[in-house]
């Protein structure tokens, strides 16, 4: 009998089960190998695979976003990673989560990373954060009855982040939080991999793009 997938592998599978069918199937196929199911594989072997692969391996995938006024569909373009890189994403986000929480300002209501042992994807689901945000807005309105609420929706925010900006943000964050050298290198490697994709900015909602 094959061993149960440990925390990091389970996290990556949960993340991509709801995100992209091809990335999910690739992970399931990869994790058929019993040695790949343990956290140690992710920390030692998957990390070294990513570091020693010159360019990132991504599948250019299109996800339905909305219908345009003329009725035609609009898609998000996603570059889904190889299974080794998906495992490394889980490792990076779990490892950086504690440091990340220390820096939260109380004004960010999304991308709340899950605990390592917690079932589910890399981040808590969107709705609880949205509810919390609405409550914060209500509290602010009650405290300042004459103020005005302004909603701003920044279109294509994540694709607008350049790899150079992401690299600088990761370098500053990891220095402030004394992240281990291997993890720092892995973070820079994932960002550098995006430089070789056929566009200049980061992919839409690439999980690591949220670390800033």
């Amino acid at each position: 009998m094959k061993p149960r997938a440990e925390a990091l592998a389970a996290k990556a599978v949960h993340q991509y089960r709801g995100r992209d069918i091809f990335a999910y199937l690739a992970l399931r196929y990869y994790l058929e190998a019993r040695a790949a199911r343990g956290d140690r594989w992710t920390e030692d072997n998957a990390a070294q695979i990513v570091l020693s692969t010159p360019e990132g391996r991504y599948l250019n995938s299109y996800h339905f976003k909305a219908l345009r006024r003329d009725g035609s569909p609009e898609h998000r373009q996603l570059f889904v990673p190889s299974p080794s890189e998906a495992l490394v994403e889980a490792l990076l986000i779990c490892s950086a989560a504690e440091s990340w929480r220390k820096e939260r300002s109380g004004q960010l209501f999304s991308y709340d990373p899950t605990e390592r042992a917690e079932r589910g994807g890399y981040f808590r689901s969107y709705m609880p954060g949205l509810r919390e945000r609405q409550r914060a807005i209500a509290t602010a309105c009650l405290a300042r009855p004459t103020a005005t609420v302004r909603y701003v929706d920044i279109k294509a925010f994540y694709p607008s982040i350049t790899p150079a900006q992401a690299d600088a943000a990761w370098a500053a964050f990891s220095e402030r939080q004394a992240i281990s050298r291997t993890l720092v290198n892995l973070g820079h490697k994932l960002i550098r991999n995006h430089l070789f994709k056929p566009r200049e900015s980061l992919s839409s909602r690439a999980p690591c793009s949220a670390i800033s």
Partner: protein, 307 residues
């Protein structure tokens, strides 16, 4: 490694099995070379240590190649959990990505073939994931006949490796560890391969006969230091594999451990100063199955990092 498939390790009997494609390639080359009778006959005493001539190379290839493969495979799969640092290091480098293996002295390619053949078999058995692994082997060996055997063997297992996403290129070079020029030429080839390989694994195997018993280690020291120094930095490591015998564990290894502090600017010894990582196991003889012999292993794991 735990719960290994029976095609590499029969746990009930404690027998290591050389992967079938490697056994088939070795058997074919032995037969093509007219060495089958010699190889299936009784093993000379003392055991052959090889040499530059065709005759000495043939004798060593016929009687000692399978033992060298089994020893390297034992270092990788470590079924008794006796060489965990070495096994983890090897598996980390052989899991995927781009890799240069500096196989020195490569002889007939036993170490490289054992590593890649075992990884391919573990992938075939769904023990390891089938991640693309691009390997460039730089083999250094003074014996031209041994290099010719290595060429035949590596070439013949390449289709089986490719089925498991292991893509191999190789170059086998004349290398004399006592010659600074020969050594520099070899290092130049390793450095060039770093342009496409982001990991370098230096594998030194079965060198005690020449360095310890023939008393050449002091003469070889500057070249060994140069080799490790130039291979240091980035994601690089070395493993030094020898048969577990007095010449290695009582002579060569203590000498190397004395050298390591002097070379600390470019390497870090990962093992213990007092105890070597050692292991032994029966292995099935590829030409005389199901008969077995014993592979004895002593190994030094080394991280090639700059201070």
């Amino acid at each position: 490694m735990q719960d290994l498939p029976s095609s590499v390790w029969v746990s009930a009997q404690g027998i290591l099995k050389i992967p079938p494609p490697v056994c088939a390639a070795y058997t074919a080359v032995i037969q093509q070379s007219g060495l089958f009778e010699v190889a299936t006959g009784s093993r000379p005493d003392p055991a052959p240590v090889g040499g530059i001539s065709q005759e000495l190379t043939d004798l060593h290839f016929a009687h000692a190649f399978d033992g060298s493969v089994a020893r390297a495979q034992l270092a990788l799969i470590d079924p008794h959990n006796e060489v965990p640092i070495t096994s983890a290091t090897l598996l980390r480098f052989l899991s995927g990505g781009t890799l240069c293996i500096a196989d020195l002295p490569c002889g007939a390619g036993a170490a490289s073939i054992a590593f890649m053949g075992s990884i391919a078999q573990l992938r075939r058995e769904e023990y390891l994931p089938r991640v693309p692994l691009q390997v460039h082997i730089v083999g250094g060996e003074i014996s031209a006949p041994a290099r010719a055997y290595a060429d035949q063997l590596i070439t013949s297992i390449m289709p089986d490796l490719e089925e498991q996403a292991i893509f191999v290129t190789f170059e086998l070079r004349d290398w004399n560890v006592l010659s600074p020029v020969s050594n520099s030429e070899l290092i130049e080839r390793i450095i060039l391969s770093k342009a496409t390989s982001l990991q370098t694994l230096v594998v030194v195997c079965n060198f005690n006969g020449f360095l310890e018993r023939a008393g050449k280690k002091d003469e070889a020291r500057p070249q060994l230091a140069e080799l490790f120094r130039f291979c240091s930095g980035g994601t690089n490591a070395a493993v030094w594999i020898e048969p577990k015998m007095n010449a290695a564990t009582g002579g060569l290894f203590p000498w190397l451990k004395k050298m390591f502090p002097r070379w600390s600017a470019f390497l870090k010894f990962l093992g213990s100063q007092d105890d070597d990582e050692t292991s032994e196991s029966k292995y099935e003889l590829p030409l005389k199955a199901p008969s077995t012999a014993v592979a004895r292993l002593a190994v030094l794991p080394i991280d090639l990092v700059k201070e």
